[in-house]
Symmetry: none
Subunit: 129 residues, 4 copies
DNA sequence: GTGGTCTAGACCACC
DNA sequence: GTGGTCTAGACCACG
């Protein structure tokens, strides 16, 4: 597993885990029947508390993305791919929508918003490269 | 005052107030010497807690955007315009940066991110119109 | 609040809380806009851990039965009554269905099942009276 | 053997095995002296873990429902029929009692409980037919 | 070994 | 005061 957790950005850790699992399933990186790492394993690996992982996994079960195999662990549920795809767009829209609302609330011009976003994006791209 | 507060979007109310004052000054919509409404007035008008307004005003004083006029109230401080401009870009960058980090963390392609953002922006534009 | 928790019957405590809130809303005993007791209050009152109450309340938020009023507490959400009604029938069906399946799995006759159920019910009624 | 195991309904698998043996003996479907399948056989047949079968058999031995036949396997014990009958009523009462408690805890009227139960039962009957 | 529940206590932001 | 998040550690049932 190749999850990245950033404990400093204010986004709840358990949400980051949920998000990344959802996106991985939507991408096809995780498929039906595959087991996810055990609560304890992932917790150790990410250096976070097992309860935090458990909370993320619980939420993924509520979304029907994971299902328990009793006494064995958790696996990607059947039919989870479309769920994750719609969930992904929902998450993205929420974030983007919020930021756009905020900017419009502040009387910013749409073109200006877009320009600033592109700026920031290309800056990040360079950093990454 | 023409502030819009959305108490349901998760963004702290006092932050929305700070932000909108900062942006208004940066835009030139508010200028040095203008008085801002009293804590109680604004609170009543926005239907929020006076403590929340007080907190926003305190923060704006810390930023040297507002200054007290003894026995009268608070006014836009001299020299606040450049402060607000730089503050504005800082705020925008923070938000954009955060969202971009999140998406990259989720293995999203940069072009895809931009496309989704443009989509959402044009959708909002239509709604507004 | 008049919740009753039985920590010995194997049913998770947080589920009992969820269930009772859902049923109370479905009954009309709790209505839109009413505040539920604070996490700490209810925890103290039921002699359970605040986290357990918080978990129940979180789940009720996911069901759109409760909504947060920031810095103030949690209230019964608008439109929660129909949700609770359907949720109530769902919960009842799940339980009843499970027990009936089990009995039929064990080759029990339907009439016999019903008779036993009535027996048990009238026994409990006497106890209660 | 004509056992049906449902690994998804939350009821422990070993309990389902125990229950069904007990009920079969109580019915007279299994009689003193009959051999039960070996742990491995039954496990393979039901597609469950051998440990689970072993655990069920162990429990049935504790109840004096099964007894070992040296070097051969397990058989239905002498005198097991009355044991199973009383065990059966105990199990049924436990289940019914629990569900009734829960409903009463949720302020449900006894008549309503019964009506809902009958509803569910007749629904299942149709499905079966 | 696995997940699930619960307790205890800390820290944070918000109002 | 409020809810929300996280840590730490315990106990249980299941396979």
């Amino acid at each position: 597993m190749f999850f990245q957790i950033d404990t400093t950005n204010g986004v709840p850790v358990y949400e980051q885990v949920v998000r990344q699992v959802v996106f991985a399933v939507a991408n096809g990186a995780l498929r039906h029947g595959e087991m996810v790492p055990s609560v304890r394993q992932l917790a150790r690996h990410l250096a976070i508390n097992p309860n935090t992982v458990a909370r993320a996994y619980r939420q993924l079960q509520d979304l029907s993305v994971l299902e328990t195999v009793r006494g064995t662990g958790l696996q990607i549920a059947a039919g989870s791919k479309p769920i994750c795809k719609s969930q992904r767009t929902k998450l993205l829209r929420e974030r983007f929508g919020q930021i756009i609302d905020e900017d419009q609330q502040s009387q910013l011009d749409d073109d200006e918003i877009l320009k600033l976003f592109q700026n920031e994006l290309s800056k990040k791209r360079k950093k990454k490269a």
